[in-house]
Symmetry: C2
Subunit: 410 residues, 2 copies
């Protein structure tokens, strides 16, 4: 008998961000400095108050309750209380990163073969979770000219099908940096309520809003108790991506129950991560304010710098620490590979994430890249200088009739 893996196993997408990694590693082996604008791994230290908690680790690293330790849950609930969102003990579950929370939410809200509506471009790993959950993503296009804000309701209505079960919204948005306005959220929530859809909001970048904006949690929208499921993570908020701690919060009893039972299946969230998380309780508002000010300054460096490069289009990013920029190139993937393989300026190059991987609709995003601004300002300035030289050089190299105008191997 021949042995075949599952269809869903074959369909599982390779990470489009990570597949350029071998090229970056090869460049580094050659001594080239690579500025990583491709991933959202902040360079800020994990707060000392959180790291200090490891000193109190017990001598037996035991299972915790499936929903999280009492201390960890109290810290998470205290955080939400400061946002004005009271969550009962049985409305929040500590998860293994935001990743597990989104998988739990998808599985609790929809069955295999059901559909999810979401704006594109979207966080590319949603495809992985949807594939695991057997869900089909139905993407609604958003456009850079509109700052990637939500399409009008008529488009949502048109995308609705008999198997639509939920909407997934990342707010503030990865990859676009869009912060949805209250009126957009109210209209979307009303649409969900009218059609019996869950509204799953990935709010891991909640604090990262600029120019005086505020991010609205779906947990705070009136009349959304039944439909709202929040996916959250400590990764970005506290520069603690590697611990893998997030949470799922919902006031829907059935969704909570189903997610808790999934949590029981995997026994407990990571214990040392939960211990570290309790250290967040000691961080005052000045911690977040400082971090956000730093990211806002970084955004400004890139927005100003890239905006001055001829042919580059981007609206001012509103939140998170990403944006999607349109470049004067035909194929962002080829450009990203070329940067790593062929372009050097003062011994350095830049890695960007081609935006194709953030779209479900084939053909979209080919002339766009996602830029993350998680590096120090000096490094971002250096990256801008490199891109300002690289873009015209690439156009020249790829111009019809240019020497070596074949596309780089991918």
């Amino acid at each position: 008998m021949t042995l075949r893996i599952s269809e869903r196993g074959r369909r599982m997408p390779a990470s489009p961000i990570r597949k350029l990694m071998p090229l970056a590693e090869e460049a580094k082996r050659q001594g080239v400095r690579v500025y990583h604008l491709n991933i959202g791994q902040p360079d800020l230290e994990t707060p000392a108050s959180m790291r200090a908690k490891l000193a109190s680790a017990p001598s037996i690293y035991a299972y915790s309750p499936s929903a999280g330790t009492a201390d960890c849950l109290a810290t998470l609930r205290g955080y939400y209380r400061r946002l004005g969102l009271e969550l009962a003990e049985d409305e929040i579950i500590a998860t293994t990163g935001g990743s597990e929370a989104i998988l739990f939410a998808m599985m609790a809200c929809a069955n295999e073969g059901d559909e999810v509506l979401l704006p594109e471009p979207f966080y590319t790993n949603y495809v992985a979770f949807a594939t695991m959950a057997g869900l089909r993503l139905v993407a609604l296009r958003t456009r850079g000219e509109d700052g990637f804000h939500l399409p009008p309701l008529a488009e949502w209505e048109a995308a609705l099908g008999p198997r639509t079960r939920l909407v997934v919204l990342c707010n503030p948005n990865n990859p676009t940096g869009t912060v949805y306005r209250r009126d957009e959220l109210d209209a979307l929530a009303e649409f969900c309520r009218r059609h019996g859809l869950f509204l799953v909001a990935d709010e891991v970048y909640r604090e990262f809003v600029y120019d005086g904006r505020e991010a609205t949690s779906v947990l705070g929208l009136p009349g959304c108790e039944e439909i709202a499921v929040v996916v959250d993570s400590l990764s970005k908020r506290y520069s603690a991506c590697g611990i893998r701690l997030g949470c799922l919060a919902t006031r829907n009893r059935e969704v909570y129950g189903a997610c808790l039972r999934m949590a029981q299946g995997r026994l407990s969230p990571p214990g040392l991560a939960q211990l570290v998380a309790t250290g967040a309780a000691e961080l005052g508002p000045e911690y977040t304010a400082g971090v956000v000010a730093e990211y806002e300054a970084r955004r400004d460096v890139l927005f100003r710098g890239l905006g001055e490069i001829p042919g580059v289009f981007l609206r001012k990013p509103e939140g998170a620490f990403y944006f999607v920029a349109r470049l004067p190139v035909e194929d962002g993937e080829d450009f990203a590979a070329w940067l790593l393989k062929e372009f050097r300026h003062e011994g350095a190059t830049v890695m960007v994430a081609p935006a194709q991987g953030f779209y479900a609709t084939p053909g979209l995003g080919h002339d766009e890249v996602r830029i993350a601004y998680v590096l120090k300002k000096d490094d971002l300035q250096a990256a801008v200088r490199i891109l300002a030289r690289a873009i015209p050089a690439y156009r020249e190299a790829r111009a019809p009739g240019a020497v070596g105008a074949t596309r780089a191997d991918r």
Copy 2:
């Protein structure tokens, strides 16, 4: 519109082990000491060499590679090498506990609606992962009289259907304590090969084998390169359940690829856990030998003690740190609840796991309980003394015509 959660969300099973927990907590509130024979949380310290690694945690808790850090993977591969199993770098993935490894394996090997063959009683959380993966568990009964060894091949053949895709085997077995003999494994592997089935082996209790036995890994079975997928965990081996670190090992390229892509979706396994795991490289064979000798002695205390209680039936457990014992009771769940609610001996009682939850077939296991021997010998002896008194007392309380012979509320 009414909002309904998914069918699979509704079907997600509550943990049968954890649902008696409120009764245990209530007993403790009353000042009663509860000996936990119900869960596999060892009371041994996590090795100091592993805990010491936390001191070298970096100041940024960053994402790791999706398959695990180079150091963590080197430690895992070194461990397998000492077992005589050479694994290439791209044959092993660090996972968030064995739990994630089993979910990945199920999803990579089978599609929604496909079937899994496995002996029952089985580790109850397989139901949770199968429900998440949309798989149907088809259980083959094993019996205490046979030491819960595998049923004859004719029964496997009879259970086979057009949608059977894999066999899941836990070896050494939780909950039965059975260590499968080489001839059983060879026959089962041959059955899998003949019918094009994957053989997913949960080998997290590999070291815990007694009376000179050896546990055979399916990775070492000749001709099984394509079918063998091993699920492993550091939880029990190093008394480090809470860190949530395990691995998936396979030589099947497609299964590895699909699981790696799932791993990329969730970004990385827990970072502090991976750091702690590298400390295992400093543990010599005397560490494992000492731990196993301790568990063997604990097993002996319980096997001898329980075997002397009239009406109790069990064969000598061969491995892991559990066994399933038949008790002279009609309903193990009622008995377990009664122990927590009504029975006290010298201010203490015992918590056991009713075995019903470990069977897929309704009606099986009602007179059995799973016993874990992860407590110190003194505590186990105290637990035996309690059970020796509790079992006749329960029989008397539940005897027809006895005062208060109604079943306890559940």
